[in-house]
Protein backbone atom coordinates (compact mmCIF):
# COMPACT_ATOMS: atom_id res chain seq x y z
CA UNK A 1 0.00 0.00 0.00
CA UNK A 2 1.28 3.47 -0.85
CA UNK A 3 1.69 5.58 2.30
CA UNK A 4 -0.56 8.59 2.70
CA UNK A 5 0.73 12.09 3.39
CA UNK A 6 -0.54 13.20 6.77
CA UNK A 7 -0.86 16.85 7.75
CA UNK A 8 -1.02 18.55 11.12
CA UNK A 9 -1.61 22.24 10.51
CA UNK A 10 -1.68 23.58 14.06
CA UNK A 11 1.13 23.08 16.56
CA UNK A 12 2.24 25.72 19.06
CA UNK A 13 5.93 26.09 19.89
CA UNK A 14 7.59 27.69 22.92
CA UNK A 15 7.37 31.03 21.10
CA UNK A 16 3.78 31.28 22.34
CA UNK A 17 1.69 28.81 24.42
CA UNK A 18 3.81 25.77 23.72
CA UNK A 19 6.47 24.20 25.89
CA UNK A 20 8.49 22.42 23.19
CA UNK A 21 11.08 23.95 20.91
CA UNK A 22 10.79 24.03 17.12
CA UNK A 23 13.43 21.32 16.79
CA UNK A 24 11.71 19.01 19.31
CA UNK A 25 8.44 19.42 17.42
CA UNK A 26 10.05 18.58 14.08
CA UNK A 27 11.81 15.51 15.52
CA UNK A 28 8.54 14.27 17.01
CA UNK A 29 6.78 14.83 13.65
CA UNK A 30 9.42 12.61 12.02
CA UNK A 31 8.73 9.84 14.55
CA UNK A 32 4.98 10.15 13.95
CA UNK A 33 5.44 9.91 10.16
CA UNK A 34 3.82 13.26 9.48
CA UNK A 35 4.39 14.68 5.99
CA UNK A 36 3.62 18.35 6.70
CA UNK A 37 3.27 20.28 9.94
CA UNK A 38 2.52 23.93 10.58
CA UNK A 39 3.99 25.71 13.56
CA UNK A 40 1.34 28.26 14.32
CA UNK A 41 2.09 30.70 17.11
CA UNK A 42 0.36 33.74 18.48
CA UNK A 43 3.26 36.16 18.04
CA UNK A 44 3.32 39.93 18.42
CA UNK A 45 6.12 40.98 16.12
CA UNK A 46 7.41 39.98 12.71
CA UNK A 47 10.89 39.49 14.10
CA UNK A 48 9.53 36.70 16.32
CA UNK A 49 8.05 35.06 13.24
CA UNK A 50 11.38 35.46 11.45
CA UNK A 51 13.19 33.81 14.34
CA UNK A 52 10.79 30.81 14.18
CA UNK A 53 11.48 30.60 10.44
CA UNK A 54 15.21 30.70 11.10
CA UNK A 55 14.89 27.89 13.66
CA UNK A 56 12.92 25.81 11.15
CA UNK A 57 15.51 26.43 8.45
CA UNK A 58 18.28 25.28 10.79
CA UNK A 59 16.75 21.81 11.19
CA UNK A 60 17.45 19.25 8.49
CA UNK A 61 14.34 17.16 8.07
CA UNK A 62 12.23 15.34 5.49
CA UNK A 63 9.12 16.83 7.10
CA UNK A 64 7.66 19.86 5.34
CA UNK A 65 7.37 22.60 7.95
CA UNK A 66 5.24 25.72 7.50
CA UNK A 67 5.22 28.73 9.77
CA UNK A 68 1.95 30.48 10.40
CA UNK A 69 0.31 32.87 12.82
CA UNK A 70 -2.73 32.55 15.02
CA UNK A 71 -4.73 35.75 15.17
CA UNK A 72 -7.09 36.68 17.98
CA UNK A 73 -9.64 39.19 16.73
CA UNK A 74 -12.92 40.64 17.87
CA UNK A 75 -14.52 41.55 14.55
CA UNK A 76 -14.22 41.51 10.77
CA UNK A 77 -12.50 44.91 10.47
CA UNK A 78 -9.78 43.93 12.93
CA UNK A 79 -9.27 40.63 11.13
CA UNK A 80 -8.88 42.36 7.78
CA UNK A 81 -6.33 44.75 9.24
CA UNK A 82 -4.32 41.96 10.86
CA UNK A 83 -4.41 39.82 7.74
CA UNK A 84 -3.09 42.66 5.62
CA UNK A 85 -0.30 43.01 8.16
CA UNK A 86 0.62 39.31 8.53
CA UNK A 87 -0.31 37.58 5.27
CA UNK A 88 2.87 38.46 3.34
CA UNK A 89 5.03 36.95 6.10
CA UNK A 90 3.06 33.96 7.34
CA UNK A 91 2.53 30.84 5.28
CA UNK A 92 -0.87 30.28 6.80
CA UNK A 93 -3.35 32.18 8.94
CA UNK A 94 -5.31 30.60 11.76
CA UNK A 95 -7.99 32.55 13.56
CA UNK A 96 -8.55 31.78 17.22
CA UNK A 97 -12.25 30.98 17.48
CA UNK A 98 -14.73 31.01 20.30
CA UNK A 99 -16.24 34.47 19.98
CA UNK A 100 -19.21 34.46 17.60
CA UNK A 101 -18.02 37.59 15.76
CA UNK A 102 -14.53 36.13 15.31
CA UNK A 103 -15.91 32.82 14.04
CA UNK A 104 -18.14 34.62 11.54
CA UNK A 105 -15.37 36.96 10.38
CA UNK A 106 -12.97 34.06 9.84
CA UNK A 107 -15.50 32.11 7.79
CA UNK A 108 -16.13 35.12 5.57
CA UNK A 109 -12.47 35.78 4.83
CA UNK A 110 -10.95 33.73 2.04
CA UNK A 111 -7.40 34.53 3.14
CA UNK A 112 -7.92 32.66 6.40
CA UNK A 113 -6.63 29.10 6.26
CA UNK A 114 -8.42 27.72 9.29
CA UNK A 115 -10.78 28.66 12.06
CA UNK A 116 -9.36 27.15 15.25
CA UNK A 117 -11.65 25.69 17.94
CA UNK A 118 -14.91 27.55 17.08
CA UNK A 119 -16.57 25.89 20.10
CA UNK A 120 -13.93 27.07 22.59
CA UNK A 121 -15.42 28.02 25.98
CA UNK A 122 -18.92 28.11 24.54
CA UNK A 123 -22.26 26.61 25.47
CA UNK A 124 -23.04 26.10 21.77
CA UNK A 125 -21.01 24.95 18.77
CA UNK A 126 -20.06 28.52 17.82
CA UNK A 127 -21.18 28.21 14.21
CA UNK A 128 -24.48 28.52 12.39
CA UNK A 129 -25.54 27.39 8.91
CA UNK A 130 -24.81 30.85 7.44
CA UNK A 131 -21.21 30.96 8.75
CA UNK A 132 -20.51 27.41 7.62
CA UNK A 133 -21.89 28.24 4.15
CA UNK A 134 -19.45 31.20 4.05
CA UNK A 135 -16.63 28.85 5.09
CA UNK A 136 -17.57 26.54 2.22
CA UNK A 137 -17.65 29.43 -0.26
CA UNK A 138 -14.31 30.87 0.89
CA UNK A 139 -12.72 27.48 1.54
CA UNK A 140 -11.89 28.20 5.17
CA UNK A 141 -11.30 25.05 7.17
CA UNK A 142 -13.19 24.37 10.37
CA UNK A 143 -10.83 22.82 12.86
CA UNK A 144 -11.46 19.81 15.04
CA UNK A 145 -9.02 20.51 17.81
CA UNK A 146 -7.52 17.32 19.24
CA UNK A 147 -6.07 19.17 22.25
CA UNK A 148 -9.57 20.11 23.40
CA UNK A 149 -10.50 16.44 23.26
CA UNK A 150 -7.29 15.19 24.86
CA UNK A 151 -7.16 17.56 27.81
CA UNK A 152 -10.76 17.14 28.96
CA UNK A 153 -12.85 14.34 30.38
CA UNK A 154 -16.34 13.61 31.65
CA UNK A 155 -19.03 16.22 31.18
CA UNK A 156 -16.80 18.79 29.50
CA UNK A 157 -15.43 16.30 26.96
CA UNK A 158 -18.97 15.17 26.15
CA UNK A 159 -20.01 18.78 25.52
CA UNK A 160 -16.98 19.42 23.31
CA UNK A 161 -17.59 16.25 21.27
CA UNK A 162 -21.24 17.17 20.90
CA UNK A 163 -20.37 20.69 19.66
CA UNK A 164 -17.74 19.35 17.28
CA UNK A 165 -20.27 16.84 15.93
CA UNK A 166 -22.74 19.66 15.29
CA UNK A 167 -20.11 21.60 13.37
CA UNK A 168 -19.16 18.52 11.36
CA UNK A 169 -22.83 17.90 10.48
CA UNK A 170 -23.20 21.52 9.30
CA UNK A 171 -19.95 21.34 7.33
CA UNK A 172 -20.90 18.09 5.62
CA UNK A 173 -24.24 19.58 4.66
CA UNK A 174 -22.77 22.69 3.06
CA UNK A 175 -19.49 21.22 1.82
CA UNK A 176 -17.21 23.27 4.07
CA UNK A 177 -13.73 21.81 4.62
CA UNK A 178 -13.05 20.20 8.00
CA UNK A 179 -9.57 19.36 9.22
CA UNK A 180 -8.26 17.73 12.37
CA UNK A 181 -5.21 19.24 14.04
CA UNK A 182 -3.40 18.28 17.22
CA UNK A 183 -3.10 21.94 18.35
CA UNK A 184 -0.32 20.48 20.46
CA UNK A 185 1.32 22.59 23.14
CA UNK A 186 3.92 19.93 23.83
CA UNK A 187 5.45 17.13 21.80
CA UNK A 188 3.52 14.68 24.01
CA UNK A 189 0.25 16.11 22.71
CA UNK A 190 1.16 15.44 19.09
CA UNK A 191 -0.42 12.42 17.40
CA UNK A 192 0.10 10.43 14.21
CA UNK A 193 -2.17 11.34 11.29
CA UNK A 194 -4.40 8.29 11.47
CA UNK A 195 -4.94 8.79 15.21
CA UNK A 196 -5.93 12.41 14.62
CA UNK A 197 -8.44 11.20 12.03
CA UNK A 198 -10.16 9.05 14.65
CA UNK A 199 -11.50 12.25 16.26
CA UNK A 200 -13.30 13.14 13.02
CA UNK A 201 -14.76 9.62 12.99
CA UNK A 202 -16.02 10.11 16.55
CA UNK A 203 -17.66 13.36 15.41
CA UNK A 204 -19.76 11.61 12.78
CA UNK A 205 -17.61 11.44 9.66
CA UNK A 206 -17.18 8.24 7.69
CA UNK A 207 -13.77 6.57 7.77
CA UNK A 208 -12.89 7.98 4.34
CA UNK A 209 -14.00 11.52 5.24
CA UNK A 210 -12.05 11.31 8.49
CA UNK A 211 -8.86 10.29 6.70
CA UNK A 212 -9.39 13.08 4.15
CA UNK A 213 -9.54 15.55 7.06
CA UNK A 214 -5.84 14.90 7.72
CA UNK A 215 -4.69 14.24 4.14
CA UNK A 216 -6.50 15.61 1.07
CA UNK A 217 -8.35 18.54 2.66
CA UNK A 218 -5.29 20.18 4.32
CA UNK A 219 -3.33 19.64 1.12
CA UNK A 220 -5.98 21.51 -0.87
CA UNK A 221 -6.02 24.26 1.76
CA UNK A 222 -2.31 24.84 1.33
CA UNK A 223 -2.68 24.94 -2.44
CA UNK A 224 -5.25 27.67 -1.92
CA UNK A 225 -2.98 29.64 0.42
CA UNK A 226 -0.06 29.83 -1.99
CA UNK A 227 -1.64 31.80 -4.86
CA UNK A 228 -3.26 34.16 -2.37
CA UNK A 229 0.17 35.16 -1.10
CA UNK A 230 1.48 35.64 -4.61
CA UNK A 231 -1.54 37.68 -5.72
CA UNK A 232 -1.25 39.95 -2.69
CA UNK A 233 2.44 40.59 -3.15
CA UNK A 234 1.88 41.24 -6.86
CA UNK A 235 -0.90 43.66 -6.02
CA UNK A 236 1.38 45.54 -3.60
CA UNK A 237 4.20 45.64 -6.14
CA UNK A 238 1.96 46.97 -8.91
CA UNK A 239 0.43 49.62 -6.66
CA UNK A 240 3.85 50.72 -5.45
CA UNK A 241 5.06 51.05 -9.03
CA UNK A 242 1.97 53.03 -10.01
CA UNK A 243 2.39 55.37 -7.06
CA UNK A 244 6.05 55.94 -7.91
CA UNK A 245 4.96 56.83 -11.44
CA UNK A 246 2.45 59.35 -10.02
CA UNK A 247 -0.57 57.53 -11.39
CA UNK A 248 -2.03 56.67 -8.01
CA UNK A 249 -3.89 53.60 -7.00
CA UNK A 250 -5.90 52.36 -9.94
CA UNK A 251 -8.61 49.87 -9.20
CA UNK A 252 -6.86 48.92 -5.99
CA UNK A 253 -8.39 46.38 -3.76
CA UNK A 254 -8.93 47.68 -0.27
CA UNK A 255 -10.66 44.50 0.64
CA UNK A 256 -7.83 41.99 0.99
CA UNK A 257 -10.56 39.68 2.11
CA UNK A 258 -11.65 38.93 -1.39
CA UNK A 259 -9.32 36.93 -3.61
CA UNK A 260 -11.84 37.11 -6.48
CA UNK A 261 -11.68 40.90 -6.33
CA UNK A 262 -7.89 40.78 -6.54
CA UNK A 263 -8.18 38.44 -9.52
CA UNK A 264 -10.63 40.80 -11.23
CA UNK A 265 -8.25 43.75 -10.80
CA UNK A 266 -5.41 41.70 -12.23
CA UNK A 267 -7.49 40.71 -15.25
CA UNK A 268 -8.55 44.32 -15.81
CA UNK A 269 -4.94 45.45 -15.69
CA UNK A 270 -3.85 42.79 -18.16
CA UNK A 271 -6.52 43.98 -20.62
Amino acid sequence: MVGRNYFDLHIASNHSFGTSSVEEIIRQAEKLDLHTIAIVDMVDTKSELQSIKAEVAAVKTPVRVLVGVELRVSDSAELQKKIAEWRPFAEMIAVSGGELAANKAACENSLVTLLAHPEFKRRDSGLDAESVASAAKNFVAIELNFREFLNTFGKLRSHILSHMSQNVALALKSGAPVIVTSAAESVWHMRAGRELASLAYLCGMTREQAVAAVTAVPERLLQKSRPAIEILSLERKVNAELQVGGVGRVGGVDDVNDVDAVDAVDDERRR
Partner: protein
Protein backbone atom coordinates in the same frame (compact mmCIF):
# COMPACT_ATOMS: atom_id res chain seq x y z
CA UNK B 1 -39.64 -16.08 32.05
CA UNK B 2 -41.49 -19.36 32.54
CA UNK B 3 -40.21 -22.04 34.88
CA UNK B 4 -38.11 -24.53 33.00
CA UNK B 5 -37.02 -22.07 30.28
CA UNK B 6 -33.30 -22.04 29.64
CA UNK B 7 -31.53 -18.69 30.03
CA UNK B 8 -29.54 -17.87 26.92
CA UNK B 9 -26.60 -15.51 26.89
CA UNK B 10 -27.61 -12.77 24.35
CA UNK B 11 -24.04 -12.45 23.09
CA UNK B 12 -23.87 -16.18 22.43
CA UNK B 13 -27.32 -16.11 20.86
CA UNK B 14 -26.12 -13.48 18.37
CA UNK B 15 -23.16 -15.65 17.44
CA UNK B 16 -25.40 -18.68 16.99
CA UNK B 17 -27.92 -16.72 14.92
CA UNK B 18 -25.29 -15.28 12.62
CA UNK B 19 -23.72 -18.71 12.42
CA UNK B 20 -20.16 -17.50 12.90
CA UNK B 21 -17.71 -16.25 15.49
CA UNK B 22 -17.18 -12.46 15.62
CA UNK B 23 -14.50 -11.21 13.26
CA UNK B 24 -11.55 -9.60 14.97
CA UNK B 25 -8.89 -7.11 14.04
CA UNK B 26 -5.50 -6.73 15.70
CA UNK B 27 -4.07 -3.25 16.23
CA UNK B 28 -0.31 -3.22 16.69
CA UNK B 29 0.78 -0.22 18.74
CA UNK B 30 4.10 1.29 19.68
CA UNK B 31 4.69 3.11 22.95
CA UNK B 32 6.61 6.38 22.64
CA UNK B 33 7.88 7.68 25.96
CA UNK B 34 11.05 9.03 27.52
CA UNK B 35 11.44 6.21 30.02
CA UNK B 36 10.64 2.55 29.65
CA UNK B 37 7.09 1.59 30.64
CA UNK B 38 5.78 -1.69 32.03
CA UNK B 39 3.13 -3.72 30.21
CA UNK B 40 0.64 -3.73 33.14
CA UNK B 41 0.69 0.08 33.03
CA UNK B 42 0.02 0.03 29.27
CA UNK B 43 -2.88 -2.39 29.72
CA UNK B 44 -4.27 -0.26 32.55
CA UNK B 45 -3.99 2.89 30.41
CA UNK B 46 -5.86 1.31 27.48
CA UNK B 47 -8.71 -0.04 29.63
CA UNK B 48 -9.02 3.20 31.58
CA UNK B 49 -9.08 5.26 28.40
CA UNK B 50 -11.72 3.02 26.83
CA UNK B 51 -13.94 3.09 29.91
CA UNK B 52 -13.59 6.87 30.11
CA UNK B 53 -14.45 7.45 26.44
CA UNK B 54 -17.08 4.79 25.77
CA UNK B 55 -18.16 3.55 29.20
CA UNK B 56 -18.24 -0.05 30.38
CA UNK B 57 -21.07 -1.13 28.07
CA UNK B 58 -19.34 0.44 25.05
CA UNK B 59 -16.02 -1.15 25.94
CA UNK B 60 -17.74 -4.54 26.28
CA UNK B 61 -18.72 -4.39 22.59
CA UNK B 62 -15.09 -4.06 21.54
CA UNK B 63 -14.14 -7.42 23.12
CA UNK B 64 -10.73 -6.00 23.94
CA UNK B 65 -7.84 -8.33 24.63
CA UNK B 66 -4.21 -7.33 25.13
CA UNK B 67 -2.08 -10.48 25.09
CA UNK B 68 0.81 -10.18 27.50
CA UNK B 69 3.00 -12.68 25.63
CA UNK B 70 2.93 -10.46 22.54
CA UNK B 71 4.43 -7.37 24.13
CA UNK B 72 7.88 -6.82 22.66
CA UNK B 73 9.86 -4.90 25.27
CA UNK B 74 12.76 -4.08 22.96
CA UNK B 75 10.55 -2.67 20.20
CA UNK B 76 8.00 -1.37 22.73
CA UNK B 77 5.28 -2.92 20.60
CA UNK B 78 2.10 -4.59 21.70
CA UNK B 79 -1.18 -5.78 20.28
CA UNK B 80 -4.84 -5.03 21.01
CA UNK B 81 -7.63 -7.21 19.70
CA UNK B 82 -11.07 -5.77 18.97
CA UNK B 83 -14.11 -6.65 16.86
CA UNK B 84 -13.72 -5.72 13.19
CA UNK B 85 -16.36 -2.97 13.19
CA UNK B 86 -14.86 -1.12 16.15
CA UNK B 87 -11.33 -0.50 14.86
CA UNK B 88 -11.80 3.27 14.56
CA UNK B 89 -13.24 3.58 18.04
CA UNK B 90 -10.38 1.58 19.54
CA UNK B 91 -7.97 3.77 17.58
CA UNK B 92 -9.51 6.82 19.26
CA UNK B 93 -9.15 5.06 22.63
CA UNK B 94 -5.44 4.56 21.91
CA UNK B 95 -5.08 8.15 20.67
CA UNK B 96 -6.61 9.60 23.82
CA UNK B 97 -3.96 8.09 26.12
CA UNK B 98 -1.73 10.81 27.53
CA UNK B 99 0.16 8.93 30.21
CA UNK B 100 1.31 5.40 30.91
CA UNK B 101 1.99 4.92 34.60
CA UNK B 102 2.90 8.47 35.44
CA UNK B 103 5.06 8.95 32.37
CA UNK B 104 3.87 11.15 29.46
CA UNK B 105 3.45 8.84 26.48
CA UNK B 106 2.02 8.48 23.00
CA UNK B 107 0.63 5.20 21.72
CA UNK B 108 1.00 5.09 17.96
CA UNK B 109 -0.86 2.49 15.92
CA UNK B 110 1.68 1.05 13.48
CA UNK B 111 -0.69 -1.33 11.72
CA UNK B 112 -3.91 -3.30 11.73
CA UNK B 113 -4.11 -6.96 10.74
CA UNK B 114 -6.77 -9.65 10.45
CA UNK B 115 -4.84 -12.38 12.26
CA UNK B 116 -2.31 -12.62 15.06
CA UNK B 117 0.00 -14.53 12.73
CA UNK B 118 0.07 -11.64 10.23
CA UNK B 119 0.71 -9.16 13.06
CA UNK B 120 3.63 -11.27 14.33
CA UNK B 121 5.09 -11.59 10.86
CA UNK B 122 4.70 -7.95 9.78
CA UNK B 123 5.33 -6.04 12.98
CA UNK B 124 7.15 -8.29 15.43
CA UNK B 125 9.63 -9.79 12.99
CA UNK B 126 8.53 -13.38 13.66
CA UNK B 127 9.43 -15.70 10.77
CA UNK B 128 6.59 -18.01 9.82
CA UNK B 129 8.24 -21.39 9.31
CA UNK B 130 5.12 -22.85 7.69
CA UNK B 131 5.45 -20.42 4.78
CA UNK B 132 9.06 -21.55 4.44
CA UNK B 133 7.98 -25.21 4.31
CA UNK B 134 5.39 -24.44 1.61
CA UNK B 135 8.05 -22.86 -0.56
CA UNK B 136 10.13 -25.99 -0.28
Amino acid sequence: MMRGDVMVNPAKQNIEQSGSEPRFRYLVFEVMSKKEVALPDVVQAIWQSSNQLFGEAGTAEFQLWIPANLYDKSKRRGLVRCTHDNVEKVRSVIASIKEVGSEPAILKVVGVTGTIRAAKRKYFGVVDLRAYEHRK
